[in-house]
Amino acid sequence: MEQARSRALDAGVSPRERARFAVRRTVNLVMAGLVGLAALIGVAVMLFILGYVLVQGWQALSPTFFSQSAQPLDFDAKGQPIAGSGGGVLMSILGSLLILGLAALISIPLGLLAGMYLSEYGHGKFAFLVRYVADVMTGIPSIVTGVFVWSLVVITTGHFSAWAGALALSIIMVPIITRTVEEILRLVPNALREASYALGVPQWRTIVKVVLPSAASGVITGIVLAVARAGGETAPLLLTVLGNEAINWNPSQPTDALPLRIYDYATQPYAVRIEQAWGASFILIMVILVFSLLTRIATKGKKVG
């Protein structure tokens, strides 16, 4: 047997088979190269954006950029704005945190519970409907969400507010969290649920104490993705929070946000403001990057299954 096999592997191979093997080896090499190249391009684009934003906004990133709110630009004798003037974006950073915080407060419990429902209880027509609506909602253009909340909240209350912005972002976040949580909980092996039931543990305790902890890292990743997605939204904020040159902690008042400030400064004719827009972009990217990195570290080792 052993001899027969070694003969087949070496000597008795026809030139045609040898050629076929050579072709297969080449194809394998080429395909592996292409796949690697595609991965490289993906990463390179991300690094290029980060680098480009940093280069463009470098000069705006001074300590006062983080510690001051917006100030009027100072102009020199020729009527040109002086570099370094114009204050900072502290009100945008804090405003973004306020709006995102409120949005998270609304959408995390709602999305988590809806996701748990779909994965653990959702078998009937109602669940199908919920799933379908969630999928459609993920596809709604965010400007439409903005218009909707504007007419529903801003018009009725008579003013722009952080609440309205948080509501608009929640409409974007809830379906994302719902569907991610559902998918992640479905990955938890049924054997674990059965083990828990067989010990006389009721279903809701099984979900909260066995299923959810087993899927913790995936659930948190899903939530972070939703927060990151909402954190970069501009369109719904334009119509709901309006923007504010000063720091505002009152959720019923117009509030500033980073994406809004970027949009505003980037459309101004002054180089100093455009530089500040790049700087604010860099901060926005870094906040989201650091946030997801921290959760990645915090949930390390807690894998599904």
């Binding site: 092996p189 054997a191 674990l192 649920r193 059965e194 083990a195 828990s196 039931y197 067989a198 010990l199 006389g200 543990v201 009721p202 305790r205 099984t206 104490k209 066995v210 902890p213 087993s214 913790a216 807690k302 894998k303 299954g305």
Partner: protein, 282 residues
Amino acid sequence: MDNTQIKEAPQDASAEGYNTPVATGGKSMEIRNLKAYYGSYLAISDVNMEIQPNKVTALIGPSGCGKSTLIRCLNRMHEVTPGAPRVEGEVLLDGQNIYAPSADPVKVRRLIGMVFQKPNPFPTMSISENVLAGIKLNSGRLNHAQAAEIVEQSLHRAALWDEVKDKLGKSGASLSGGQQQRLCIARTIAVNPEVILMDEPCSALDPIATLKIEELIEELKAQYTIIIVTHNMQQASRASDFTAFMLAQDGPGHLVEFGPTQQIFTRPTQKRTEDYITGRFG
């Protein structure tokens, strides 16, 4: 005889205080006219059996004959299986019907524990947390000494203590397959059941680990009634006192023959039983 409700477990999780597992002795079970469905599909039909306390009863039969479905009907696990499951008939534990309308499936499962085919320790929990899982997940309060006592007792009974006593804080998933299965047995013992169901507990294990589980079953029957599904006939003949042979030829799974293991394996009354145990089919 009062068949309408299930008696409280001696150490019910909702009751105050936990003691070390003091087995109250196994209880008898009786299966009456049991039918199990998946939707409209009848999987097993008209099973009648009396299961003796403190004995090992083996369910044997070819794949698909319904033995796993049957054992899952015995602690109401059938109804958490996907596929619109349904049960008709009665299953009595010590004279009380576990399918009575007032019987709480959660309580039933505390009295009738189950060990599965594939070892399934909780991956996020340590070895000792796994043993205490049944109590802790039901938010039973334990002080340090009680917890340590239950862990040690249960692991001793599951013949695992000597192998894990120095690494109780390690993940249950770090153990070998056979050790994981004994950990699952320890976890079941820790909630003080009266009956332990085992659904092919050795099918994922090597012969040495299998032998250990079989020895363990022999020891455990002094305190618990044990029902084991196996498709290993040697295992049934070695480890059980009673054997039930099931078959699903031309219709739903049903009981062909049930009796003392020795009799089933030496002079079965049914031709089909003889054919199966002599390896003519299956």
